[in-house]
Every structure is written in C-alpha cells, then in structure tokens.
C-alpha cells in the first residue's frame, strides 16, 4: 500500500496535466478536477500565477458577469484548460453527457451537455475525467454526441481533448490519428485490466509505466490547503475524503 488514496492520485495527476496553464476553469459536479486545479495553483504559487474559476464557488471564482462570463472568456481565448466527464466516451473522444438509447426517449438520462458543445471547441486543453473505467462508459461509439472529439477541416476548432483520466489509468489523445494511447497505469492495476475494461481500441506501449504519485510535500498540500479550499463548494466530497483519511490513520 502506497499510503496514497486513489482520489489523491487522481487529483495529483490532474495537477500534473495542468502544468503551465495560466487560467483553468472547473464546471459543475467536478470535485476531483477542482481539487487538481487547486493543487496546481498551490504548487505554482511563488513562481507563476494560475487563475482558477470553480463553478458554484464564491471564494474560488473571480467572475463578475454571471454564468455567461466563463464561456465568453473561453471564446476570447483566455481559458487554457477545462474538464469534461461523460456518461459515455468513445475512442474518437466523442463525449455523451445526455443519455443511453434513442434520443430523446433515453433509457438512461444523464443531466445534459452543459457547456461541452462549446468549450470542447474553444479550450485548448480539455481533460476528460471519468472515474468509472468500464465497457459501459468507455464505448466504441457514443449514443449521443454532446461534443465531438475532432472536427473536419474548415470548422473553427482551437480547442479539444488532450487526455482521458480514469480510476485505472491515464490516456493521451492524438487528434491527428485520431485516437487514445495508454500513458500510465495507476497502482494496483495492469495494462491487461485496462484492456479488459475498455470498450474502444487504443494504442498501448509494451510496458506502460505506473502513474506517478504525490511526494510528501504534495500530499501535505493536498490534505491541508486543497482539502480546506475544496470543502466550500464540495462539502460532501470533502467530508468523504476526511473520513477515508481517518480510516487510513486508524
């Protein structure tokens, strides 16, 4: 046992993916991306300014022009990174946030596309994050395209996906091919596990490395400052995390 919780590995991985960003925004129902962005900001504090906007937060949100401002900022090219989830994600990085089955009579309905149909086009570094790594989530072809992974020539598209992070591993996306490549495997999993649980084809190196874990200083930031900052917007998630840490210590 590494002494690091899975959610901490995920948050740390997101912070690594955000290296170099000037401005990052986090959408609805995204506690892990929010924590990853908060960790990035904390790590860079004395070197560079990372501006962060967490939807639904009062303290960690500097917008003053209502909920339209995030999209306006993205359209202006000011937003470097954003996160999208997906009830289904396919091998072309198409994202489905709407539902399973024949739209509109979905057999399973999810909340909806949110800002994905715009931000996937306008934000240069979109990180796909979905904890559940299974064949029902990572599918060959999505049932509904909330936002497409790639666009044909002639479509205005400065943005798009760069990576897909799940509870089992990290994939990078190559928009030229287009397709995913397995980049690293989280502790406790294997490349074979991942193949078994993935419903789309992807490239896999002979021996994919293990996902890097946070060091002691990074863990201290995570469990102190980041957890405190996060609890304002995501009290239930923060309480869960604290319970896990307490169980860990016991």
């Amino acid at each position: 046992m590494s002494g690091v919780l899975l959610r901490e590995t995920l948050i740390f991985t997101i912070a690594r993916l955000l290296e170099g960003v000037r401005m990052v925004a986090v959408g609805a129902a995204s506690p892990v991306p929010a924590a990853g962005a908060m960790l990035r900001r904390a790590l860079d504090e004395n070197e560079r300014q990372v501006r962060l906007s967490v939807l639904g937060s009062v303290k960690h949100n500097f917008f003053t022009n209502g909920s339209a401002e995030l999209f306006d900022a993205a359209g202006q090219g000011r937003l470097d990174a954003f996160f999208l989830g997906g009830g289904q994600i396919d091998g072309q990085a198409n994202v489905n946030l709407v539902g399973v089955g024949d739209y509109p009579a979905s057999t399973v309905r999810w909340p909806g596309s949110f800002g994905s149909a715009y931000l996937y086009f306008t934000v240069p570094k979109v990180i796909l994050f979905r904890e559940e790594h299974s064949r029902r989530v990572l599918v060959d072809q999505v049932d509904f395209i909330s936002a497409p992974g790639v666009s044909p020539a002639g479509v205005y598209r400065p943005g798009g996906p760069v990576a897909l992070l799940t509870s089992k591993g990290l994939f990078r996306f190559d928009k030229e091919r287009p397709g995913f490549m397995l980049d690293s495997v989280h502790p406790g999993h294997t490349a074979a596990d991942i193949a078994e649980a993935t419903g789309f084809a992807y490239d896999c190196p002979a021996n994919p490395p293990e996902t890097p874990l946070p060091d002691a200083a990074e863990l201290t930031l995570l469990r102190g400052r980041v957890l405190d900052e996060l609890s304002e917007t995501y009290p239930a998630f923060a309480a869960d995390w604290r319970r896990d840490l307490a169980a860990f210590a016991a």
């Binding site: 609805a28 129902a29 939807l55 639904g56 009062v58 917008f63 003053t64 022009n65 209502g66 909920s67 339209a68 401002e69 999209f71 306006d72 359209g75 946030l97 709407v98 539902g99 739209y103 509109p104 009579a105 979905s106 057999t107 309905r109 999810w110 909340p111 909806g112 596309s113 949110f114 800002g115 994905s116 149909a117 715009y118 931000l119 996937y120 086009f121 306008t122 509904f144 395209i145 909330s146 936002a147 497409p148 666009s151 044909p152 002639g154 479509v155 205005y156 995501y234 009290p235 239930a236 998630f237």
Partner: protein, 266 residues
Amino acid sequence: MQADLRAMAAGIRPGMRIALPVDYAGVSMAMTRPMIAHGAGSLDLVCVPTGGLQVDQLIGAGLVRSVETSAVSLGEAGGAPRFNQAVKDGSIGLRDSTCPAIHAGLMAAQKGSPFVPLRGLLGTDVLRHRDDWRVIDNPFAAEGDPIVLIPAIRPDVAIFHAAMADRFGNVWIGRRRELAAMAYASARTLITVERIVDHDLLADEMTAAGTLPALYVTAIAAAPRGAWPYGLWGEYTTDTNELIRYAKAARTEAGFAGYMAQEAAA
C-alpha cells in the same frame, strides 16, 4: 402560504414560457409551491443555463410541457428524479442545449435582435436535434467558416430570488448578471428577496452597479431564506442534506407526493 407569493403566482397562465436560474445564482424556491398551488400548466421552462430542484418539482407536479436546458441535476445530490422519469416516459418535450447557447438566446432578446451567432456546436447531436437553430457561412470570412445562429429567447416570465430590494422596486443582484439577462429578455420578472430596504439602492454608487432597475421588475415579495434548500450568495449555503433527502424521496411518484405534502405542512 404568503398572500403576496400567491398573488405573484396567479399571474402565470397555462402555456407560458418561464425562465428559471441555475442553482447557485438565486433560485426562488419560495415561488415553487405557490406555482404548484396555482396550477397553471403546459409551461415551457427555460433553464438559465441549467435546472435543478425547482425544475424537478414543477415537472413532478405535472405543470411542465417542455424544458429547454443544458442540463438538469441536483448537483451533489445526484440526478433529478422526476425529470429523468419524465424523459423516460416521454411525457415532456426536450430542447437540449448548451450553456452558452442559452445565454446567447437571452442576449439576442436583450438586444432586440432576432438571433446571435455562436461558435462550437458543429457536428454535435445537440445541434442535429434543434430544428430552430440554423447554420450559415460567416459572411465576413473569405471562404467557408460555418457558424450556428441561435434565435432570441423571449420568456413570458422570469422568476428568481435575490438578497435585497428597495421600496422603489430596484433589486440588488450583485455579480449574478445572468439574473439581469433573464429580466432584460423576459416580458415580466417576478422576484423574491431576503429583505426589502427603505433606502434607494441606486442612490449609492456601490450598490447601484449591482442593481437591476425597477424598469425590468414586475413584482417583488419578501421571502426570507427563499432559496432554501439552495443557498444564496453572500447569505447562506446550500442545505445538501435536504437535497439528498428530496432525491431519495422523489425516486417514485408516491415518494415525491409524500415529500411535497410534508413540506407543505411544515
């Protein structure tokens, strides 16, 4: 039930298009029950830009014909049970959108323009299912460059909750500018507030900048903690436990009815 809330709800007629704000912007939960008691149905809801508890309860009460939204959920409490059931049953019309398209439609109405263009959306099933949207080639580009046109969204009524109004009908909305956008675009705007103050909000430059002038306001009623169980910026936080309690209860139609009856008695 407060008489002034009942009177505001009485102005809603069957078939109206109603704009409601996102959960963190100031939802007038205080108006939900009076709307249900009033009973005007066949409503076309516009969520700005997403919906939650209020939308779910209006659907559960059978008042909704269609929902235009970029999402409906209960946030940390999970999916919106009555909305999800209605989608499965096909009992409500769906106009799935994306957040900036809702804002764009309101912006067009704000300017009195028929539409505004919006990037993104090309190649999505969101666009494919919207027969009210159009794609044209950017007339200013040398070649090609397709772009989507979003028609103006002009609701009959906007309903929201804010911290403060004055006796002159001005409402302080602070930095929640989507509330102003809703009011500009809508024919009528009904607002509940935490409190009504005696001084003129426009007389002080510090409050004037965040104030929606009475020009855009149809009616105001005081409703302390009127966003509960949602929070209100700068005032109180969301009661997540209550949202979870609702989410569990409303999984079934009977559970929903039981929850609503209990709340009415409280």
